[in-house]
């Protein structure tokens, strides 16, 4: 997995490769300047010890000054360029992810629990994806750049030291490789297991902490504070042991790198002393060799860190790829969408299941909604009402049977063209974290002020909006949380009015609302309904006379159908549901 993940991750960074290369170049020059400063100073001192004329020293003095300044300047430039690269990468990553995820919505973003048809919200999945993208933006600065610069420096120093004798180049490259590759690899192998254990323990501890804080009332009420505290203490002890083991390993790594750096100096001295004595090496360069080797180890220090971060980035990338690698639930037809002859929906012998291994969620569904008529789908929760709506919206494709819209098969319509024909009011309308006006104009970007006001008046929203301090420019907050459930639904209705599509699907539009608000919303829905082909899904049997026909669904099949009055006379499931709702009221008035 990690190999191909790494390759794909690198591919993602390709659009900013020029910036990255430039940053790596500047980073290398920065380190070289540091080495140069130490090396020229060493040379200056050694030269001066031989008491030459001042003129001879001038060159070295200029070198010292030059490197002293260039190090800072190049560090500055390197930071500018590498951060620019990071921001470009971030923008690219977001667009890439959006493009990849867009065709998957909404079917593939709903995590369904195995064996049940309960749809979980995609919130957590997406929240994690956004966090993962934020992790990946640092992929370049923290992970790609340090090894590249290290390789440049390693090779450069190898050539440089080789000019003074092969043995120095050999000593250097051995120590350099051991500390840049060997030590991080060793630490990684040693710490891999305990690192994973720490993650698990921390997650467990976190769960326990959440339980303790959120469940504190229950814990106290049942006198469980002591056992809970002990549980946490035990987990804490386990975490401590693991963290100490980790500290031992990471301390060992720090020690090794320092040791290897100083041993490099020592080994070069050991080789240089006899070389100078034998006259193979001019003693003038001894200090220079030692200090330049020492200076180059600056680049080794961040390597273990980038090695560690690589794991996290790969995991993040893997999760993202997993999301976007899903196959879209539906394919658009190759040909152009047909022109609907009318707005009649006709469903015959429809069977549907979410996956091949799973049981059918809808079985042998038959109905026709003639243009302008209203069909209501009722039934207990889990009966398949919302699934049916989603199939009609082509979030999923059905396996057997036939759905026709305006005389053509539903599959022949492109998604985009299909949605132009349908307005949807869902049980939980998504509002974007922007103004009320912006949220309304999603339905029709070219809408005029007058059109917006007409729509909001019909949705009984206008007066409310005028009360707000900023009117239509009032921000609705994250997920529209600054508004009440009823207000959010009214925005959804106003959107549908603005969109003015000939078909209307209402999926439990009042489920989260209190009774009074529900009544009002149902009244405005009557306005919205005028003349539109409507499918209303509900589990509350209020204002049912709005429907021309009612289908009662149970466990994926239609068990009853007819008008409100007919169904009451049948005295079957519908009648029982109705009775249950009426019973309590009857009870009290006795």
């Amino acid at each position: 997995m990690s190999k191909s993940t790494l390759r794909r991750l690198i591919n993602l960074a390709l659009p900013v490769k020029k910036w990255m290369a430039l940053a790596a170049l500047l980073g290398s020059i920065t380190v070289i300047s540091g080495i140069g400063l130490l090396a020229t100073s060493a040379y200056l001192i050694s030269m001066a010890a031989l008491h030459p004329s001042v003129a001879v020293l001038q060159i070295a003095i200029v070198g010292v000054r030059f490197f002293g300044i260039s190090r800072g300047v190049f560090r500055y430039l390197e930071r500018l360029v590498s951060h620019t690269a990071t921001f470009r990468l971030l923008a690219n990553l977001r667009v890439w992810f959006y493009k990849a995820v867009e065709p998957l919505a909404p079917a593939r973003l709903l995590e369904r629990k195995a064996g049940s048809n309960h749809e979980l919200s995609s919130g957590d999945l997406l929240r994690r994806a956004v966090a993962d993208i934020d992790v990946l933006q640092n992929f370049y600065i923290r992970i790609v750049a340090p090894p590249v610069v290290a390789a440049v420096i390693g090779i450069g120093m190898w050539i440089f030291l080789g000019a003074y004798g092969g043995v120095f180049a050999l000593i250097y490259i051995v120590f350099f490789l051991v500390s840049s590759v060997g030590v991080p690899l060793l630490t990684h192998l040693l710490s891999q297991k305990v690192g994973q254990e720490i993650v698990t323990t921390r997650a467990e501890l976190h769960t326990q902490l959440v339980d303790s804080v959120q469940g504190i009332a229950d814990l106290l009420a049942f006198g469980q504070e002591q056992p809970q505290a002990e549980k946490i203490h035990n987990l804490n002890q386990r975490l401590n042991r693991q963290q100490m083991l980790m500290a031992t390993i990471s301390g060992f790594q720090g020690m090794l790198i320092n040791l290897l750096m100083n041993l490099t100096v020592w080994a070069i001295l050991l080789a240089a002393v006899p070389a100078v004595y034998a006259g193979h090496l001019n003693g003038l360069f001894m200090a220079l060799l030692v200090l330049s080797a020492l200076g180059s180890f600056e680049i080794i220090l961040p390597l273990p860190g980038s090695f560690q971060q690589l794991g996290g980035s790969l995991a993040a990338a893997h999760r993202l790829f997993e999301i976007i690698d899903a196959k879209p639930a539906i394919q658009d037809p190759k040909t152009k969408s047909p022109q609907p002859q009318n707005y009649t929906i006709d469903v015959s012998h429809l069977n549907f299941r979410y996956g091949e291994q799973e049981p059918y969620t809808l079985r042998d569904i038959n109905f026709t909604v003639a243009q302008g008529k209203c069909l209501a789908l009722v039934g207990p929760s889990g009966a398949g009402k919302s699934t049916l709506a989603h199939v009609l919206l082509r979030f999923w494709d059905y396996q057997e049977g036939q759905i026709q819209l305006g005389g053509h098969t539903l599959r022949d319509y492109c998604q985009d063209d299909l949605y132009k024909l349908i307005s949807v009011v869902e049980q939980d309308t998504h509002l974007f974290n922007t103004s009320i006006r912006q949220n309304l104009m999603i339905a029709r970007p070219e809408a005029t002020e007058a059109e917006i006001i007409t729509a909001t008046k019909q949705a009984q929203l206008h007066d409310f909006v005028l009360q707000l301090p900023d009117g239509y420019d009032t921000l609705v907050g994250e997920q529209g949380m600054r508004l009440s459930g009823g207000e959010r639904q009214r925005i959804a209705i106003a959107r549908a009015l603005l969109k003015d599509a000939p078909i209307l699907i209402l999926d439990e539009p009042t489920i989260n609302l209190d009774a009074v608000t529900e009544q009002k919303i149902l009244k405005t829905l009557r306005t919205l309904r005028q003349g539109r082909t409507t499918i209303l899904i509900t589990h509350r049997l209020a204002e049912m006379d709005i429907a021309d026909e009612i289908l009662v669904l149970r466990q994926g099949t239609i068990v009853e159908r007819g008008s409100h009055q007919q169904l009451l006379q049948n005295e079957d499931l519908y009648w029982r549901m109705w009775q249950q709702q009426q019973r309590l009221q009857a009870n009290i008035s006795q």
């Binding site: 010292v64 769960t207 804080v213 009870n587 009290i588």
Partner: protein, 583 residues
């Protein structure tokens, strides 16, 4: 950073830790001096005195020894600081929990709970940065340059003076830059999180965008906003980078000045080579700790902020009342529980706002009696329940059990007498059996099963993949609302306490689940005192006695029939309940 003082107060081992870290820094400083002194000596003897390898071997061996000692000190330092850090974290976590349990649920209500989980989990972990990285680095920054400076002065005054002059300049820059860089980092984080939440908003609204045909233009919007973020942030960062450029230049230029200064003096024979080279080697080591400290700055600020939150939490006063140790703890209710003129006022610590929730509540609960409390939301119903559970203590007045004030009984002992059925029972992230055992930790599995059967949940549990040993998962995702209610009832059956406080589930339950919960409740209530906060009509009708609460006072009481006739407030409430029942 006042964190040091507070840590000294809270952390017993702090003094030993400071001494230990200081000692390690001192040894490191000495190692640096001797290591470089030997390097200078060896090069000097080989370069100018033309000595052979055998002559220099002793010096090389000593150098090797020093290198090893230095490495071991690094390891020791890491281990020692980690030992201290884990101890401190364990200790603080335990204290935090003991304190949180005393503060009770009232304190943890609402938005604060997430914040507190963060403090106890990540906040405590963030102290690592302080103990393992920041503080040792501070010690190193103080001790290593000082030792080097003293040593350089002792061998060459002029170089010592150069170092002395340049050194204070750097910390000055450091502080300046540190502050600025922090403000910038924060601003950058704020921008990034804004950008991320916008992106998340778009992704979560993808279905809506699709339905309105707005999905294609979003690509451009995302790119534009991301690019704008990059540009804004770069503006911020450019300044920060410039400051660190000045800082870096300060260090490298001082380095260069020293090199040129001693080089020229060497040229005129004012200083021997060995000494000159030694000083040259020491100069980068002199500035290094200070430069490394800059990198730790951000982590330390985060640590300090966490520590502050931890200490603030530990210092939040609790409402605990001192108990008489010899008090007789009652095992059951003989006559009655009585509220005598109970007042309660909420104090909002943040805003100093005081809201009087209860203004003189008096009533009596006798064994076998079913009492319902009704009232509009905010009338004070839940406050009464919380007082009875001792999550809160009355601001004035008293609650008594058989005429003995309950405040005289330690809260945990008192709570053994009370069972609570909350509106949203919390399901813990463990097995079903363990969740039911909340009611009685040492209950056998048979007792657990009996309790589950009484609570009408046994059949549901046996259908779960591993029956009673099934991990229910986060927040009981496997169970429906009604099943969670019944799980909580099983706890209540197991606990078998004489007083029941029922905060009725709201209309989230469908009719069928509600029936099952009610059946189970019927079995639980006989012979006990049952105080119900009523959300549904059944309870009101079947209660022996009804208290009507408005604005923290009991405005009417009696049976359903009498209240229906005489109390306008009650009639109003019943009408509201009725409407909810229809919906």
């Amino acid at each position: 950073m006042n964190i040091n003082k507070r840590l000294l107060l809270y952390v017993k081992a702090m003094r030993i830790y400071v001494v230990l870290v200081g000692l390690f820094a001192l040894i490191t400083a000495l190692c640096i001096i001797f290591q470089n002194s030997y390097i200078a000596q060896i090069i000097n003897k080989a370069f100018l005195a033309h000595q052979s390898l055998p002559q220099l071997l002793p010096a090389l061996y000593i150098l090797l020894g020093i290198i090893l000692v230095r490495a071991i000190v690094i390891w020791g330092n890491e281990l020692a600081t980690n030992i201290v850090s884990t101890r401190v974290k364990t200790d603080l976590r335990q204290r935090l929990f003991a304190h949180l349990f005393k503060l009770g649920p009232q304190f943890l209500k609402g938005e604060q709970s997430g914040e507190i989980v963060n403090t106890t989990a990540d906040g405590v972990e963030a102290l690592d940065a302080y103990f393992i990285q920041y503080f040792p680095q501070v010690c190193a920054t103080v001790i290593i340059p000082t030792v080097i400076l003293i040593y350089v002065f002792s061998i060459d005054t002029l170089s010592g003076i150069v170092l002395l002059i340049t050194w204070p300049v750097l910390p000055f820059f450091m502080i300046l830059i540190g502050k600025q860089a922090n403000a910038m980092t924060e601003q950058r984080w704020r921008l990034l999180s804004q950008l991320s939440s916008h992106f998340l908003d778009v992704l979560q609204g993808l279905t809506t965008l699709k339905l309105f045909g707005r999905n294609h233009i979003q690509e451009e919007t995302i790119r534009t906003i991301s690019t704008r973020y990059g540009d804004t942030t770069m503006k911020v960062l450019r300044v920060a980078f410039l400051s660190s450029l000045v800082m870096e230049m300060g260090a490298t230029i001082s380095n260069a000045i020293i090199a040129v200064e001693i080089g020229l003096r060497l040229l005129y024979g004012d200083i021997p080579f060995e000494q000159a080279f030694f000083i040259l080697l020491l100069t980068p080591e002199f500035y290094l700790p200070l430069r490394s400290l800059g990198a730790q700055f951000h982590a330390s600020i985060e640590s300090a902020a966490s520590a502050e939150r931890i200490f603030d939490l530990l210092e939040t006063p609790t409402s605990e009342v001192a108990n008489d140790q010899n008090i007789q703890v009652p095992q059951t209710v003989q006559e009655a529980i009585e509220f005598c003129d109970v007042h309660y006022t909420y104090t909002d610590a943040g805003e100093k706002q005081r809201a009087e929730a209860l203004r003189g509540i008096s009533f009596k609960l006798a064994p076998g009696q079913k009492v319902a409390i009704v009232g509009a939301s905010g009338a004070g119903k839940s406050t009464i329940a919380h007082l009875l559970l001792r999550f809160l203590e009355p601001t004035a007045g008293a609650i008594t059990i058989d005429s003995q004030p309950i405040q005289s009984i330690p809260a945990p002992a008192w709570r053994k007498l009370v069972t609570w059925q909350p509106q949203q029972p919390y399901v813990f992230n463990t097995t079903v059996a363990e969740n039911i055992r909340m009611g009685q930790s040492d209950a056998s599995i048979d007792e657990v099963i009996i309790a589950a059967q009484q609570a009408n949940i046994h059949d549901v549990i046996t259908q779960l993949p591993q029956g009673y040993e099934t991990e229910i998962g986060e927040r009981g995702a496997l169970l429906s609302g009604g099943q969670v209610q019944r799980l909580s009832l099983a706890r209540a059956f197991l606990k078998n306490a004489p007083i029941l406080v029922l905060d009725e589930a709201t209309s989230t339950l469908d009719t069928e689940s509600e029936q099952q919960v009610l059946q189970a409740l019927e079995r639980l209530t006989p012979d006990r005192i049952a105080l119900t906060i009523a959300h549904r009509l059944h309870t009101i009708i079947s209660a022996d006695h009804i208290l009507v609460i408005q604005d923290g006072r009991i405005v009417d009481q009696g049976t359903h029939q009498t209240l229906l006739m005489k109390s306008p407030v009650y009639q109003e409430l019943v009408k509201a309940y009725e409407e909810e029942a229809i919906a």
